[in-house]
């Protein structure tokens, strides 16, 4: 099963080659079979002529001459005998024997009774060691004649295996019975080297050509698959080239249309949410101004607090909607200075962040958005994790990895993906009363992805939670 290719490329190529080889094999077999048949016919005709010649010569000779001639004519691959009786019941009637008999009769100047007693197709080795009959021998009818070894072929041009051993009889005009035994060498199934070479050339050239053509067909499919998997992360990815074979171009066009429609759909929804959030700001502003008319007091400060919370929810909703499609321009950012400044700002508001690691070169990034992303993660670590937070940066040739880790209670791994969904908060009492918009991680991940990077959560060795932000070093 493992040999069966899983790629479309492999499967099409395999089907093409298998079909080609099968068709060629059948063609060659038919051709070879024709050759064999032709050879058989030629050899059959030759044997019939030869046997007919012998019969004719012996028929015209007198008894004395016959004895001499018999020896003279018994040269391989034919041996002749006159001392066998006529095996009346031994005549074979198959298509081959009848054709052979008819052929001999045609060659004779006047008709004589001819019969074939046995035709054996056998290979040389088996003939040498044992005698096989086409039918079971009758002890009465099958005297030692049939036990005699066939005459040697005498023609060393045919060393190949199968030969036909033929025994037949002719009743001469004077009643004498001439028994002839003849060995017809069968041709070798000599697979002609040239045909094999031709097949090889054909297979190789078809394989190369169809490989090229199929690769050309399947490459757009691969880019389609890439585009489809990239779509989930980035609706803004550039459209596919609508080129190539007609079907492929159509698929690419359909995909691009889908992407456009999806984008429009998402934009419409986002606009609706943005509009609502946006419009809420006016009544909140008015409320705040109205509250200024109230005297200071418990009620007023509580209402102010509620309004602040609403304000923050609206702010982070708008941030979330904007995070994926930041209008901020990417710059080459000194990550070391950037992380230090974030760290400083966090220290200034009382967080205890340890920073470790250095980066060797500037990285393309949107500083404001990236700051937002890190601050969200740091605030989460502070809110749900522990007082001490570790922020570290490491790099590979292509990637930058920023880790923000706490020593808090951590989070079940089943929740680590779910918390990235907007407005999802863990159902722990701690999370509920500490508030938060439920958008911090969603915003942070949207920002990471807009940078061509990724943000995941993982359990930290030794307890606590790790937020791992990876960013590409080259702009995507």
């Amino acid at each position: 099963m493992k040999l069966f290719p899983r790629t479309l490329f492999g499967q099409i190529l395999l089907a093409l080659l298998a079909g080609l080889i099968a068709a060629q094999a059948v063609g060659f077999w038919l051709m070879l079979d024709d050759r064999v048949r032709l050879g058989e016919r030629l050899r059959g005709a030759y044997t019939a002529q030869r046997v007919a010649g012998f019969i004719s010569i012996l028929d015209h000779a007198d008894a004395v001459e016959r004895g001499r001639l018999l020896h003279a004519l018994s040269i391989p691959p034919t041996s002749l005998m006159l001392d066998e009786p006529w095996h009346a019941s031994g005549a074979l009637h198959t298509v081959d024997t009848d054709a052979f008999v008819a052929h001999i009769e045609k060659e004779l100047p006047h008709p004589l009774p001819i019969q074939v007693l046995s035709i054996r197709h056998n290979d040389r080795d088996r003939l040498r060691h044992e005698i096989h009959f086409d039918r079971p021998p009758h002890p009465r009818d099958m005297p030692p004649l049939f036990d005699m070894p066939p005459p040697p072929i005498g023609d060393h041009e045919y060393p190949g295996p199968p030969i036909v051993f033929l025994i037949g009889q002719a009743r001469l005009s004077d009643g004498a019975v001439l028994t002839f035994r003849h060995t017809i060498p069968q041709p070798n199934m000599d697979w002609p080297l040239r045909l094999g070479g031709l097949l090889l050339v054909l297979v190789v050239s078809v394989a190369l050509l169809s490989g090229w053509a199929v690769r050309r067909l399947t490459r757009p499919l691969a880019s389609l698959a890439d585009a489809a998997s990239g779509l989930a992360r980035n609706l803004e990815q550039p459209p596919l080239p609508e080129a190539g074979p007609l079907e492929v171009a159509r698929a690419a066009r359909a995909f691009n249309t889908m992407q456009r429609d999806l984008k429009r759909y998402v934009e419409t929804r986002a606009q609706a949410l943005a509009a609502v959030s946006h419009d809420l700001r006016l009544p909140i502003t008015r409320l705040r101004l109205r509250m200024e008319k109230l005297g200071d007091g418990m009620l007023k400060s509580q209402m102010e607090h509620d309004l602040l919370e609403m304000d923050e929810m609206i702010g982070s909703t708008l941030d979330f909607l904007r995070a994926g499609s930041s209008q901020e321009r990417p710059v080459r950012l000194d990550i070391n200075a950037f992380l230090e400044s974030v760290n400083e700002d966090m220290l200034a508001v009382g967080a205890n962040v340890r920073l470790a690691g250095q980066v060797s070169e500037p990285v393309p990034a949107r500083p404001q958005a990236l700051r937002r992303c890190l601050v969200n993660l740091l605030e989460n670590a502070r809110r749900y994790g522990s007082a001490d937070i570790d922020m570290s940066v490491a790099e590979t040739p292509d990637l930058l990895e920023i880790r923000i880790e706490d020593r808090g209670a951590g989070m079940p791994s089943s929740e680590m993906e779910r918390v990235f969904e907007p407005y999802v908060r863990l159902e722990s009492s701690r999370a509920r009363h500490t508030g938060g918009s439920g958008l911090g991680l969603a915003i942070a991940r949207a920002i990471a992805r807009a940078h061509g990077g990724e943000l995941v959560l993982a359990a930290r060795d030794g307890g606590g939670l790790s937020a791992i932000l990876t960013l590409p070093k080259a702009s995507s």
Partner: protein, 235 residues
């Protein structure tokens, strides 16, 4: 003398509330709902500053802001409803003196208004807003609040570092005492800046890549610090 503030906003209730609020703090408040009314008010009255909503029917706030700035140095406070960074930056480029986004806290609006009026009183009109400070091989971007080096690489600053550097760069070749520099942090976003000025100065020096040679930020013994380079202000 009573300062006159012109509020341009399309929401009548908000206009009325701002009227009452700012009026309560002793300002004369004039109202306009769009660009046309704004022009009428400006023609009829001596106005000291304009509070201008970004989103207005007809000609929008940005266009009005640009138009006002082209004619006069009248101080402008933009109300950016969306809190959109881009609009904020464009607003400042269009010549607004400051911005505040809805929903603002009334006290903060009041603080901004006072601040703008005080500044315009000092300078006798609004100075053209500065966008960038160029000094040595550096650019300090005042909107994005970060440094840009010769190669275009952005070097981030913490908000404390930014304010410190900005203060030094606003007064080049002048020695500022630690107390003067500390005042920077007693502004509205005052936080627990327990770090001393000295620590922050040394970090700033590191940001500016001053590992050796003549330092940009000079220490003047027993007096304070000084930015020892020319600063070019660009709009």
């Amino acid at each position: 003398m009573e300062k006159k503030i012109l509020v341009v906003d399309d929401d009548p209730e908000l206009r009325q509330l701002l009227h009452e609020y700012l009026g309560g703090w002793g300002y004369g408040v004039l109202l306009a709902s769009d660009g046309v009314q704004m022009q009428e008010q400006l023609d009829r009255n001596q106005v000291d500053m304009v509070i201008l909503d970004l989103m207005l029917p007809g000609e929008d706030g940005l266009a009005l802001c640009r138009g006002l700035r082209a004619k006069s140095a009248l101080p402008i406070l933009m109300l950016t409803a969306s809190g959109d960074e881009v609009n904020r930056i464009i607003g400042l480029e269009m010549g607004a003196d400051d911005y505040i986004h809805k929903p603002f806290i009334p006290r903060e609006l009041l603080a901004r208004v006072k601040n703008i009026l005080r500044r315009s009183g000092e300078t006798g009109g609004t100075a053209t807003p500065v966008k960038e400070l160029h000094f040595a091989n550096w650019v300090l971007d005042l909107n994005a609040r970060h440094l840009i080096d010769q190669a275009g690489v952005v070097v981030s600053l913490s908000s404390g570092e930014f304010r410190l550097l900005r203060t030094l760069a606003d007064h080049p070749h002048r020695v500022l005492s630690r107390d003067q520099l500390l005042e920077v942090f007693s502004g509205r976003e005052a936080g627990p800046f327990d770090r001393t000025i000295d620590v922050m100065i040394s970090r700033l020096r590191r940001r500016l890549g001053e590992d050796g040679g003549e330092p940009l930020i000079k220490t003047v013994r027993n007096e304070g610090y000084m930015l020892a380079t020319d600063v070019e202000r660009r709009v």
